[in-house]
Symmetry: C2
Subunit: 190 residues, 2 copies
DNA sequence: TCACATTTTTAGACCAGACTAAACATTTGA
DNA sequence: TCAAATGTTTAGTCTGGTCTAAAAATGTGA
């Protein structure tokens, strides 16, 4: 059983590594978790002792297989809870992040499997992010492309958002853009 | 916002006071929370400073109005989550306690109100305990009577259980007793 | 009433997790 | 190549919550 703090560090390391393709620097982790680099040093040492992470100073922290497995389990919980909140409790997609951050730390894989079944094994969360299955596998979304990179005149449909901040999601709502919307790029502000 | 530890102490004080009709002694609280009396002394001091509890040494700890309000809010969360787990995720009534102990600490009254509405504002949880509404009010169940005190031959129906331990609940399952069961007492083992 | 069993508190320590300030190490750009 | 900028760690402190051991206070039974 891992503490909330440990789980948050694991999640941060995972997502920074995903995005950059490299290990996560202690400063990057500190920034993401709104904490200080010295705190990160301490926690990384603990994660290392528990065989969840490796650290090569100045080259980043990376997760071990076990660490990665924990990370995907937490992401699975987060995305399934977000899906539940939006699809069954009528929350908007810009309201669910903070609640899911709490719910993802509930310790029970059985609960999350039941929630998954209850909802019919959804493959994507309300922001279009893929939901890992029990084994950590998820649909590959590498094919998707940022709207800012789509050439003018090409028909596309929106499958997800890269930025899930409430402000950006509300902006999209205001523009009438949601998952499944079809459009062609007409004009670019650049 | 209160910590899990604070919430657990408040809940313990509330339920001991309910059961005994008096204040909760520090030793009783310690026993219920599987902790030590000295730890209770410390926490009670904190709750007192936050105006959530009063302590008259050797005569027990009691909650202030604000403390009681927090207690019923937690109980509301606990019972609504238990109801959700049983009615929608197909858990058995003897499996849900520990999970609800985790879920009751999720900080969002809006979430719990939405869950309440989603389930159609249930009045009782899977063990027959009344669910407080948003204002802390709940159905009065003082009319109910322990099965052991029911005279032979009188028709009764089961509306709740006094002991929600998994072992006892499984025993009831084995006897075919559940909420709503009608019966007359035939024989007593005493 | 008063000694004793019980209850409660104090004192000092520990752990997890965070912080500041300072020291230290490494990469990198000129 | 080497100094500056950046990244990292150390040392010491703090808070919340817990513990043990010992001291202090109280209710109660004879």
């Amino acid at each position: 059983m891992y503490s909330n703090a440990e789980e948050n560090y694991i999640k941060a390391i995972f997502s920074i590594s995903e995005k950059t393709g490299k290990g996560a620097s202690t400063t990057a982790i500190a920034q993401r978790l709104e904490t200080k680099a010295s705190s990160v040093t301490d926690m990384v040492k603990k994660l290392n002792e528990k065989a969840l992470a490796d650290h090569r100073p100045y080259h980043g922290v990376s997760l071990t297989d076990q660490g990665r497995q924990i990370a995907t389990a937490i992401i699975r919980k987060h995305r399934l809870w977000e899906t539940f909140l939006v699809n069954h409790l009528n929350y908007r997609w810009d309201e669910v992040h903070d609640l899911a951050e709490q719910l993802e730390h509930i310790h029970s894989s059985d609960l999350i499997d039941r929630l998954d079944r209850f909802m019919g094994h959804p493959k994507f969360d309300p922001h279009g992010d893929p939901i890992p299955d029990r084994d950590g596998k998820m649909v590959d979304v590498a094919g998707a492309q940022a709207l800012s990179e789509v050439p003018k005149g090409v028909l596309v449909h929106i499958v997800g958002v890269r930025d899930s901040s409430p402000a950006f999601l509300k902006l999209l709502d205001g523009l009438g853009l949601k998952l499944g919307t079809q459009l062609t790029v007409d004009r670019k502000f650049e």
